[in-house]
Symmetry: C2
Subunit: 453 residues, 2 copies
C-alpha cells in the first residue's frame, strides 16, 4: 500500500462511521463519481434514493468498491522488502531444505476478489508455495499479503493465479512459485429455480521449477494438497477452460439496456482505475445489469389467483385437527439494499393445515419467495413478508426460516468468510407454541453439509 493510501484504509476499517476522518474519502472525486453512478442505478431499479434504508447506500457502495479494489494502488516490493530472512540450506549432503530449496506451502488462505465479467465478489481459497533460493526465506504472512494485492482487483481466476505467481517470482526470486486457487462464484438465478451450488473454478500457475506441470516439484506440491480435493487431473488446462466461468455468460436474460445505467457502470469501472474498453470489461456493464435488473422494484407477481383459491379452501375446513406442512430449501436470490450486494440462500416454510387437506403447491411458495427475494431487501423484511403472504394463504399459522450467505459479510471490512445469517418469523400458533416451532426446526436439514449455503 502506498503511504498516500493510508488514510483511505482507516475509514474502511471503521465501516460506515461518518466521523471527521471520513471527510477525506467522501470528498474525493472518485468516490463522488461512484456515488453518482450508484444513484443512477438505484433510480433505474425504481427506487426512491432518499428512502431511509438506501439513502447512504451510494456512499457505502463507493467505499466498499474502492476498498475491494485497493490492490491497484499497492506494490509487492513494499510488502516483501524487509521480510526476506537469511536461512541457510543443508549443511552438507545432497538434497533440498531450508533457504536453499525445500518446498514451503501455505494452504487454505481465504480471500475475495471481484469478478471482472459481472462485478460481483467471488471467494478464493488460495494455496501458495515456493522453493527458496539464495539462502533467504520469506515471512509466511507475506505470501498472503502479496496474493491479496492481486485479489483486490477486478479479476478472473486464471489471471489472478498468474499475477500472484509472477509477482512473487519477481519479488523474491526463488527457485519457483506455485499457486492453486479454488474459486467460488455466486450462482445467477436460473429459470427452473432449482437448487444450484456455487460455480467453481480450479486454476493453477507455476514459475521456475513449477513451470512444467509434469515436473517433480509439482508432484510434491500436489502431494501436499491431495486432501483438499485438488488433484492434477482436476485442474483444467488453460485451453479447455476458456474465460467464461462467470455465470453471467450463461444468463439467458439480456437487458434492454437503459443507456444511463450502462454509462453509470462504465463510470464506476473508470473510477476504480480500469478501462471500460479493455476487452474483458466490454460486456461487464451488460452482465452486471443483467444481474441487477432482477431486483428492480416491481409490483408484478404471478400468485394472486393462487392466493384466492387457497383462502377459500382454508375457510372450508379451518376447524379440523391440524398438522404441520413444510416446504424446505426453496432457493432465493436477493440484493442487500444497504450495500447493493447479493445475499442468497434458502427459505424454509412451515404452516398448519387441516389434516388431510392438500398442501400449498411448491410452485406457488417458490413464486412468493422469488417475488420478495428479487428486490432490494434486508433479510429480516424478506422473512416477514414471506411469512405474512403464506399466512394469508394458509390461514394464519405460519413459520418461516431464511438461511442466507451475505456477500457484504465477506467483501466489506469484516471479511467473515464462513459466516451466514438465519432469521425467523412466526405467526399465529407458531408464536405461542414452542413445541410446534421446535418440530419445524427439527425438519430443517443441515445447511453446512448440504452445500446450499
Amino acid at each position: 500500500m502506498g503511504s498516500g493510501e493510508g488514510h483511505f484504509c482507516i475509514e474502511l476499517e471503521n465501516g460506515t462511521k461518518l466521523g471527521g476522518n471520513d471527510l477525506g474519502l467522501e470528498k474525493e472525486p472518485k468516490t463522488i463519481a461512484i456515488e453518482d453512478a450508484v444513484k443512477v442505478l438505484l433510480q433505474g431499479l425504481g427506487e426512491d434514493i432518499n428512502r431511509e434504508g438506501i439513502k447512504k447506500t451510494p456512499f457505502r457502495v463507493a467505499k466498499a468498491l474502492r476498498d475491494g479494489t485497493r490492490g491497484y494502488e499497492q506494490k509487492v516490493k513494499d510488502i516483501v522488502q524487509g521480510a526476506l530472512f537469511p536461512e541457510v540450506g543443508l549443511h552438507d549432503g545432497v538434497g533440498h531444505a531450508g533457504g536453499a530449496g525445500g518446498l514451503v506451502l501455505v494452504r487454505d488462505l481465504d480471500f475475495f476478489s471481484y469478478c471482472e465479467s459481472c462485478l460481483l465478489p467471488f471467494q478464493v481459497k488460495c494455496h501458495v508455495g515456493y522453493v527458496p533460493s539464495g539462502q533467504r526465506v520469506l515471512g509466511l504472512s507475506k505470501l498472503s499479503r502479496v496474493a491479496d494485492i492481486f485479489a483486490k482487483r477486478l479479476q478472473d481466476p486464471q489471471r489472478l493465479a498468474d499475477e500472484v505467481c509472477s509477482a512473487l517470482h519477481l519479488g523474491i526470486n526463488p527457485a519457483g512459485v506455485a499457486v492453486v486457487l479454488q474459486c467460488l462464484h455466486i450462482p445467477f438465478p436460473n429459470p427452473d429455480s432449482k437448487h444450484q451450488g456455487w460455480i467453481k473454478a480450479l486454476v493453477s500457475s507455476g514459475s521456475g521449477v513449477f513451470r512444467n506441470k509434469n515436473s517433480d516439484a509439482w508432484g510434491d506440491y500436489m502431494g501436499l494438497l491431495k486432501f483438499r480435493g485438488v488433484t492434477v487431473e482436476k485442474i483444467p488446462t488453460r485451453d479447455s477452460m476458456g474465460n467464461n466461468w462467470c455465470p453471467s455468460y450463461a444468463s439467458s436474460e439480456v437487458v434492454a439496456a437503459n443507456p444511463g445505467m450502462v454509462a453509470a457502470v462504465a463510470s464506476i469501472l473508470r473510477s476504480l482505475g480500469e478501462d471500460p474498453l479493455r476487452k474483458e470489461l466490454e460486456e461487464t456493464p451488460g452482465h452486471f445489469l443483467n444481474w441487477l435488473i432482477n431486483f428492480r422494484n416491481t409490483k408484478l407477481n404471478g400468485f394472486t389467483c393462487g392466493i384466492k383459491a387457497l383462502l377459500k379452501h382454508d375457510e372450508e375446513c379451518s376447524h379440523n385437527h391440524q398438522q404441520i406442512h413444510s416446504e424446505l430449501n426453496l432457493p432465493f436470490w436477493s440484493q442487500c439494499e444497504h450495500h447493493l450486494l447479493p445475499f442468497h440462500g434458502v427459505v424454509h416454510i412451515g404452516y398448519l393445515c387441516p389434516e388431510g387437506s392438500n398442501p400449498i403447491e411448491n410452485s406457488l411458495l417458490q413464486s412468493i419467495v422469488h417475488f420478495y427475494g428479487f428486490k432490494l431487501q434486508v433479510q429480516e423484511r424478506l422473512t416477514r413478508q414471506i411469512a405474512e403472504t403464506v399466512s394469508s394463504i394458509s390461514g394464519r399459522d405460519t413459520m418461516v426460516v431464511v438461511e442466507a450467505y451475505h456477500t457484504c459479510m465477506i467483501s466489506r471490512g469484516i471479511e467473515k468468510f464462513g459466516s451466514n445469517t438465519a432469521t425467523i418469523a412466526v405467526l399465529g400458533r407458531f408464536s405461542t407454541d414452542p413445541a410446534a416451532r421446535a418440530m419445524f426446526l427439527e425438519r430443517i436439514p443441515n445447511s453446512a453439509t448440504s452445500g446450499i449455503l
Copy 2:
C-alpha cells in the same frame, strides 16, 4: 475506534513495513515499553537480540499486541450509531417478525482473542443473535464488529460472551441478545508427548428474552445451532466451568522465575492498559513464562547416545536392499522467532533403511523433534534441522514434512483463520527419486480431518 487511533491502525494493516507512517507508533511510549520488555524476555531465553531473525521481533511483538488489544480503546456506540435501520414488524396478526421480534442470528463468525491467563491468542467461533424491538434492526456486520471490540482484549471465554451480550443489549436495546462462543486454545506441551487436540470451551450468555436458558427464545436459538455441534446440554453451567480452561493452570512446570522476566511481562500488561494486580492477571506472568521457558536456547538434549548406537547399526548393513520407514504425526511445539507466538503441529519423518533392519525408535525421533521444536524457530529451519539429524542417524536418505498452524497467521494483521503451512526437506535418495517422495507423501494422513491441525 476513536479517531485518534486511526493512525495506529494503518500501520498494523501494513505489516512490518517501516515507512514514514510507522514513526508515530514506533515512538509511542507504550510501544517502546513493550519493546523493552520483549528484549528482556528474549535475553532471558538466551537469545542474542541483535541476531538477524529476531532483531525486529520486539517491534513486531509490540505492534501485534497493541493491535490485538485495540478493543480497549473502541466504543460500541461508534459502531451501532447510524447502523440501526427502521423496519416494521408484522402488519397484523399474532406473532414475531421483522423489526418487532423474530430472531436474527449470525452464525460462524471467526475471531481471535488473547487468553488473560497465559497471554496466548485463542480462536473464537461466535454465534450472535438478537430479537429486534422498537421497529429497528441492526446492520448484520455490526454484530460482528461489536463482538470484535471485546475479543480484542485480554479475555476468558465466559467474560467475552457476557461482555458482547451486555454491550449489544445496551447498544441496541432489543428484546434480547444471545451469544454462544466455541473457543479453541492451543495445547501446552504435555509430558507424554501424546497427540493432544485443542482445548475447547463452549460458553453462552443471554439477556432479555434469552436471560433464562429454559426460555422459548433459547429453544429457537439452539434449534438453529443444532448442526454446529452446539446443544443446550453441552454448554456447561457457569458454576461447573470455573475459570480455568486455560491449559496453563494444568501445566506441571513451575518456572523458577527470573524476576526480570516476570517484571517484563507485568510491564507489557500495564502498557496494554491492564492492571497486573487484577485478580485474573496475578498469575499471568508466571503462566506466560511457563510457556515461554520451553523455548529457551539450550544445547541440552537426550538423544546423543541413541545417535551413536544407530550409526553403528547403519554401517553394518548399508549395502542391503532398502525400504521406506516412516514415523507419522509426531507432535511438536515451537515458537515463531519473528513474532514470539506459537506454531504447533505434526512432523512426518521418512527414511530409507536396509530391509529387515529395525526402525529408529519412535521415542528417539520424538526427542529430536522436541529438541529442535522447543526453541525460537522458523518452520523452514525446523524442517531442515530434523532432516539433517535423522539423516545422520539413518544414513543419509531422509524426508521430513512439517505441517503447522501458526498463531501469528491468525492474530496478526492478515487473520487467516483456517490457514496452515507445510514444509518439506529431502536428503539423499529422496532428493533425486520423485517416486520415493510420492510414496512417502501418500502415507501422510489428512491433517484437515484428523483434527491435529
